[in-house]
């Protein structure tokens, strides 16, 4: 809490400062992943969620939402690379692409998977207790997030994580 030492300090001494130090994450930072993987996965998820919306409040819509939620659960448990979208990216897509120019910390996309799991999970639970309108509502929210991630590269971890930390610290 009152830790006075910043994680990274780079005061620029006159002229003699290094031109650019590599961005150093926390010492325990896990190995990086290809940042295109999570975006590819989000695009597939978005397509499925469009399917959920087109199926309305039918049982098929609930089942498809459950498939999406299961994918998010895999992502939370094993990281984005552990989802079926991640496996598809590694096996089919990445071999056809140039090597990535930069690697991404796996924790931000994993946090996004958790957000997706919460949103779709709440929709599923409400659907199972009879609130069938919850399926398209949850699908719509998850679609907005997946679309923003896939098309604009929006990082949910950047937008939401700090709010979570603030709430947790207050509790």
């Amino acid at each position: 809490m009152s830790e006075p030492v910043p994680s990274t300090v780079t005061p620029s001494a006159p002229a003699s400062a290094p031109a650019s130090a590599p961005a150093s994450g926390p010492a325990s930072a896990p190995a990086g992943i290809d940042p295109r993987g999570p975006r590819f996965g989000a695009a597939l998820t978005a397509v499925l969620l469009v399917g959920v919306l087109l199926l309305g409040t039918s049982a098929a819509a609930t089942a498809l939402l459950a498939v999406v939620a299961a994918g998010f659960a895999l992502g939370v448990a094993f990281g984005v690379g552990g989802t079926w979208q991640g496996v598809l990216f590694r096996k089919v897509v990445r071999p056809r692409l140039a090597p990535p120019t930069e690697l991404e910390d796996p924790r931000p996309p994993r946090f996004a998977q958790l957000v997706g799991l919460v949103v779709t999970g709440v929709g599923l639970v409400l659907a199972l207790v009879g609130v069938s309108a919850a399926v398209p509502v949850a699908a719509a929210f998850a679609l907005v997030a997946a679309f923003l991630n896939a098309v604009f590269g929006l990082c949910l971890g950047c937008e939401l994580y700090l709010l979570g930390v603030r709430l947790r610290a207050r509790a």
């Binding site: 300090v9 679309f147 929006l154 930390v165």
Partner: protein
Amino acid sequence: MGRVLLVVAVLVLATGLGLWWRARNGRFTAVDPRVVADAEHTPTTGDETRLTAAEIGAPLGSRVTFVQMSSAVCTPCRRTHAVLTQVAAEHEGVSHVELDVEEHLDLVRRFHVMRTPTTLLVDAHGVVVGRLSGATDRRHALAALASCLDGSNPGGSCPDGVLPR
């Protein structure tokens, strides 16, 4: 038909949100010049108008300091770090300090930081003259420096501040 329209509406909404997010991401917002001028003349510490070297754990730049607040789950923080380090190295008297939000929750609260990265621009006297919210590219960083250093913002001219008059 209604469902197709629903899908279209959701995607249009998401596109609008995305464009808005991208347009404001990383942009420099100056603190009201009157607030800055007040802060320059009242040497209080511990409020949201000022930061000290002790609080950030590093000396302030002789002209400007970028105080970047980052978190582990934030990929754009890495790019922002690289951009600001480079800009600081290229400009005399400009320095860059990166803080982990989890270790500095007191500063997060005090400066109402809601997302990462958020970068506070602090002048030589520790007065906060503006902030960059979101991933910052080189263009944003240079615009922030320009608005701070050229003195066109009477309260927020960083080179020597406006103290004492």
